[in-house]
Each structure stands twice: as structure tokens, then as C-alpha cells.
Amino acid sequence: MSNEVSKESQPDSILEEMAQPFSRRNFFGIMGAGTALMVTAAACRKYNPGEGGGHHTGNGGVNLGSGDIGILNYAYALEQLEAAFYTQVIATPYSRISSTELYYLKDVRDHEIAHREFFKAALGSMAIQKLEVNFSSINFKDRTSVLGTAKAFEDLGVSAYNGAGKLISNADYLTIAGKIVSVEARHAALIRDLIMPGSFADMTVVDSNGLDGARTPDEVLSIAGAYIKTKLDASNLPTS
């Protein structure tokens, strides 16, 4: 990915690559690996770059779209939720917030805004609309409520990206998702340690194989849905 970065910058350059099921580099990587992998890759049938989301479906939900675009919109929806949450946290800090906590939470807010705006720019006309959030269950004056919600959002975000990676066809998009998920994991560890020092990777999130969580879009959206007022339709997202 790093050699892509210096490429002539176009707001919709990420979309230009959609026509190709795999980037050329990755394609040749697979060719070199021999017939066996080609069989597996073909069997996966993950070539569809997908259709844009945004339009309302029969059930009134905002359609995330299909293929890779659907997954990018799914990530965009989650980043919208996180960015809205931290924007509120910084606008109305909880009682007796420490200077260190405020300092870190401002950073986290900026990271989440950067993620949200990145997806918005990258998706361009394929992007879903701005979502309405529902934070009525959160007491923004209360440290326990705010940090508890932050922890839930960060762990959920990590598991969402971990579960979505395999649904992505394009290697460059997979790398983008990878660049973001590790930052979400850093957030999760910090927030957890603010709540309870040493809980950065405890047994509630890391299993006995040393693996972090992974959730399907349906599992994630059923949890995140409590905080998103706008109805989402994830029915066209890839499932494998």
C-alpha cells in the first residue's frame, strides 16, 4: 500500500481500482503461487466490487450496498457512530475528567473523525448518508457511562473489522481496513486500562488461542443498532 500513497491524488482514486478484482500486484502474487491457490481463489467468488449504497429499500432502511462497497459503507457507518460519540464526549466532558483522559480522548476523537471522513471521501457518490445516532442510554456527565460505552464501541469495532476482512475482495481495501483496525485496538487497550489497569487484552476479549474477537456484520449491527437511529439494510453485504 505504501507505494500507492505517493500516487497522484484523486478524491475517487480508490474507486478506480474497483474494476479490477485484484490489484495487479496481488494478482501476480497469486499466479506465482500455482494452480492450487487459483482454485481456492476462484472458489471464493469474491470478485464483485459491488454496488453503491445509500438508496432506501423496501423496508425503509438505508442500503449499505453490496460487495466491497457494501463493506466499506459498513465500516463508514461504524466510524460515523464512533466519531459522533467522541465528538459529544469532548463537547461535554464528564465530571472530574483528568487532563490525561481529556488529552487521550481528544486524540481518539480526531482519529475517528479522520476514519469517518476518509471513508466518506473514498466512497464518494457510493457513500451512504449521514446517520442519525441515538445516545439516550449514555450519561455523558458520568465517567463510568462514557468510558464503558467507549470500551464497548472500540472492542466492537475491532471485532467488526476482524470479521469483515474475509468479506473484502480487493487486497488494497483489505490493507486499508488493516491500517484502521490496529488503531481501534490501540484505543480499546487504552480505554480498558483507564477503566481497569491491566484489562487491555483480558479474557473477555482475547480467547485461549490468543485471538481477538471477530463478529459478522449482522452480529455487529444488532449491537450497534441500539445507538443508530437511522435504519440500516445490510442484506446485500457479502457473507463469505
Binding site: S9, A33, V39, D110, D172, G178, A189, A201, N209, D212
Partner: protein
């Protein structure tokens, strides 16, 4: 990915596949029989071994996947052996610090076991290392690695941040196999949690932190936060503020600084870059 698709595709490529499996039904039965005996989580790995039985070589998973998993396993051995010695060094403050490093050590041991099992199940041969294979002074760059707490934390942070970048760089090599890809991602984010924790510990201990540099749980620009040029290669490139052609600084009219823009995205390293970084730690 789905099993029916794989079988159909193999049938196209190799019409004799069912002679090898006997019949399609037996292939399914063979899978069902095997999967009945093993935990659900290891089914993908069992699938690899079924193909291996049919073809006598690791056909269900390819060389590039085995190679990638062995590369990951090599890094996990490095980390695991490091933390085993670190925890036993006697220089880590008892309490929160020692507890954290113990948790991290246990995860790295689990990653070694998990990847070794996965590679074997896929028909590959897992690499193996022993304690004497490593030189944690990195050819004298970190002479105090197990006698000086600041050096120990600095090396630990570098291993974790490098590990995060290494897994990120290898993920595309696993894109053809959903199960290995997901497992690798699930390790990747655990390494990032470790990195964040070690960075908190370094900030608190304030050892080997260059003047004027703030060590945060995330990577700012290309700053290591470590007063040693020996670790710089692990941080070069992290200063990027352009992602897929999109400039992140001040994006959408929001006041996102270059620091925040660089922190918001971790950057991958290639296998060659990672190999060059860890090479001094191997005898």
C-alpha cells in the same frame, strides 16, 4: 468461501478429483466425519488436511499461505522467547507491570502454539526455534535488554509495533483463504493491544524517552519514542498522512493535524523490511 464451490472448481481443474476422494458424497462424508471429531474452530484447518490426504501434498492451502504463516510463526517465536526471559529477568516491577508482561507472554506462547497447529493441519511443516537461537541484545545494540527496565520496555514496544506492521503487510497474502486471514487479523489486533499497553508503561516509567517526545498508545508520525536510532526502521513510513490517494490532514474541513492523521492509520511493512529489522535478534 464455501466447500461446494471449492469442490466444483477442483472438479473443473482436476476431473479426477472424485477418484481421489472416491465420490463427491464421500468427500463430503470425509469432511463431516473429520469435523465431527474436532472443535468447530479448527474445521478450516481440517479441511486443509483432507485435501492433503487426497493429493498427498498441501493442495487445499498453497505454498504462499504456509510460507506466510511460517513467517508469522517466526515472529511469534521471537516475541515468545523474549517475554519468557523478560518475565524471568527479575527487573520488572512487581504488580501491574509484571502482570501486564505476563499476560503478553502468555498470548505470544498461545500464538506460537496456534500457528504451529494450523500449519501442521494445513499440511505444512511449522518452523521451530529454541531459546539459544536468539540474541536479544541485537548484536550488542541493547546490552541491557534483561538488566535495564527501560531497555526491556523499549525492545518490547518495538517488537509489538513491528509485529502489528508485519501482520498488516502479510494479510493480502492470505486473502484467498477466509479462515487463515481472519485468524491472522485476530492475532494482529492483539499485538496492537500489547503495543498500546507497552507504550502506556513506557510513558509512565519515562525511561529512554527522548526529550520533548510524547509516547502515546498510538504511533505519532515516525517517532519511536525511544532514544535509540537502532529501532527507527520499525517506525519509518508511519508518518504517512495520505491514504489511498485521500489526504487525511484537515480532511472534510475538520482540524485534523498531521500528527493525528498519522496516528489514525498504522502502516504495513513488507516481509523484507520486517526480516531486516528482526535479523539482528537471531543468532
Amino acid at each position: 468461501m464455501n466447500l461446494q464451490n471449492i469442490l466444483s472448481e477442483i472438479e473443473t481443474t482436476d476431473p479426477e478429483v472424485y477418484d481421489k476422494f472416491d465420490t463427491r458424497r464421500n468427500a463430503m462424508k470425509s469432511f463431516a466425519k473429520t469435523s465431527g471429531k474436532i472443535a468447530l474452530a479448527s474445521i478450516p484447518f481440517a479441511l486443509g488436511s483432507i485435501f492433503q490426504k487426497a493429493y498427498g501434498s498441501p493442495t487445499g492451502t498453497s505454498g504462499i499461505i504456509i510460507d506466510t504463516l511460517n513467517f508469522a510463526l517466526t515472529l511469534e517465536y521471537l516475541e515468545s522467547n523474549f517475554y519468557i526471559k523478560a518475565v524471568a529477568s527479575g527487573i520488572i516491577p512487581v504488580g501491574e507491570s509484571l502482570n501486564a508482561l505476563t499476560v503478553i507472554r502468555d498470548h505470544e506462547n498461545e500464538h506460537v502454539a496456534f500457528l504451529s497447529t494450523a500449519i501442521t493441519a494445513a499440511g505444512g511443516t511449522p518452523v521451530s526455534f529454541k531459546a539459544t537461537d536468539f540474541d536479544f541484545t541485537a548484536k550488542g545494540n541493547f546490552p541491557g535488554v534483561f538488566t535495564d527496565y527501560g531497555t526491556l520496555l523499549a525492545v518490547a514496544q518495538t517488537f509489538e509495533d513491528t509485529g502489528v506492521r508485519a501482520y498488516k503487510g502479510q494479510a493480502p497474502n492470505l486473502i484467498s483463504n477466509n479462515d487463515y486471514l481472519q485468524a491472522a487479523l485476530q492475532i494482529h489486533s492483539v499485538e496492537a493491544r500489547h503495543a498500546a499497553r507497552l507504550r502506556e508503561m513506557r510513558k509512565k516509567a519515562n525511561l529512554l524517552v527522548p526529550a520533548g517526545v510524547d509516547v502515546k498508545p498510538w504511533i505519532t508520525l515516525n517517532q519511536s519514542g525511544i532514544a535509540s536510532p537502532a529501532v527507527q526502521a520499525s517506525y519509518d513510513g508511519e508518518e504517512s498522512v495520505v491514504q489511498a490517494g485521500v489526504t487525511i490532514t484537515n480532511i472534510g474541513g475538520f482540524p485534523i493535524s498531521a500528527k493525528a492523521a498519522s496516528e489514525a492509520f498504522d502502516e504495513p511493512l513488507t516481509k523484507d523490511q520486517v526480516s531486516a529489522i528482526v535479523k539482528p535478534f537471531f543468532n
